[in-house]
Symmetry: C2
Subunit: 229 residues, 2 copies
């Protein structure tokens, strides 16, 4: 068995690919998902399927209701934008921004990593397609890594030197899909939609679906995940 690593796993295309890369790099995976008031449980079902396919050692889902604070289309009752042009998506910070999301996710990943003896944390952030999210940028990740090494018993006592891995950060969606495909990721198990149906069908029209479908088209592949007709 390889060195333990924590994987932030949403059940989407990016985190599934990130997990396959971590596994290729020889890690035994400790997957972490959040039940953070998602609109649909179907997203957690996707995470469970992907975890099983990756053969993770352990998969923990932490209930975390970010709706308590409000403030995002992904957690509150704000409409998810549909059928936007790429130029509109690229403008500023998306409405789907969740306040301090990756800071919260990484801090819980750090707790899980310390308990699991894992120095490595994998997160599938991307600064190409999601350039609008401040907490997907390399300078944010570098600052978190620095914080992590000051924050814990294991780092301060020298047992673990934490590293935050972002293997997708500079890849286009098409490059992510090609890499994942070569590593055997079954994208039919994954869901990326911001507005999934209860039955787990993607809408095909939100920013995330549009980016995903464009990525498959550019990669010359067909998305095996089911969409609402």
């Amino acid at each position: 068995m390889g060195k333990p690593a924590v994987l932030l796993l949403s059940g989407g295309l990016d985190s599934a690919t990130c997990g396959a890369i971590a596994r290729r790099e020889g890690h035994e995976l400790y997957a972490l998902s959040f039940d953070y008031g998602q609109r649909h449980r179907a997203e957690l079902d996707a995470a469970a399927r992907v975890a099983a396919q990756l053969g993770v050692r352990r998969h923990v889902t932490v209930p975390l209701d970010l709706r308590a604070f409000g403030g995002s289309a992904l957690t509150a009752e704000i409409a998810v934008p549909k059928d936007r042009a790429a130029s509109e998506m690229a403008e500023g910070i998306p409405i789907t921004y969740v306040p301090a999301r990756n800071t919260v996710f990484l801090s819980l990943a750090l707790a899980y990593a310390e308990v699991s003896g894992a120095a490595d944390i994998y997160i599938g952030v991307n600064a190409v397609d999601y350039s609008g999210y401040p907490d997907c940028r390399p300078e944010f990740i570098a600052a978190f890594e620095q914080l992590a090494n000051l924050a814990t018993k294991a780092s301060v006592e020298g047992q673990l030197k934490f590293k935050i891995h972002t293997p997708l950060v500079n890849l286009t969606k098409a490059e992510i899909i090609r890499q994942g495909t070569s590593l055997g990721v079954d994208y039919g198990l994954t869901r990326s939609c911001y507005d999934l149906s209860d039955a787990g069908l993607s809408c095909g029209h939100c920013d995330s679906c549009l980016l995903r479908l464009k990525g498959f088209a550019e990669a010359g592949l067909t998305d095996p995940a089911p969409y609402q007709s």
Copy 2:
């Protein structure tokens, strides 16, 4: 009404004093507590009492079950040490250490602060009595503040410049109690015990009770909170 500030509020002596200082500094308070698998609900009851006395604008309690990861006497079924000498407490990192606790707490405070339009976050950490906790040290707090200003829409777009306030960091317990008393904090409402009874009575023997009782003694005051006889 003053500028909004987020207050991390446990219901203990330190966070109650920290809140009184934030209020004296003119802030309107947004209190944040965690229901993180505490052994006793009595701790949350204390937080609610203190929030009411402080006259906070809003008090959010986020369910956050850190027991999912295991690894601490405060969250798992490990015995809380009793009647230890100060010299024993000072050795290394306490068994009551919770992995990445303040990183997790501050990251959720950051989310709450962004949503509330609060640039200021108050946390009652102390590097004197709790020198063993890595995430109570000034260098940790400075690293978190740096991270916060890279992490959010509000900071990146220039609306909020986050500051993490730690007004107790260099005070002894006796100094904290004197300052809180002069600000009108009713310490009878607060609980600091690691092993509170269901009825909200402190044990008087855990590290936290011993530090608290020593603080009151050194301040020449009597602790008004109830103890198990």
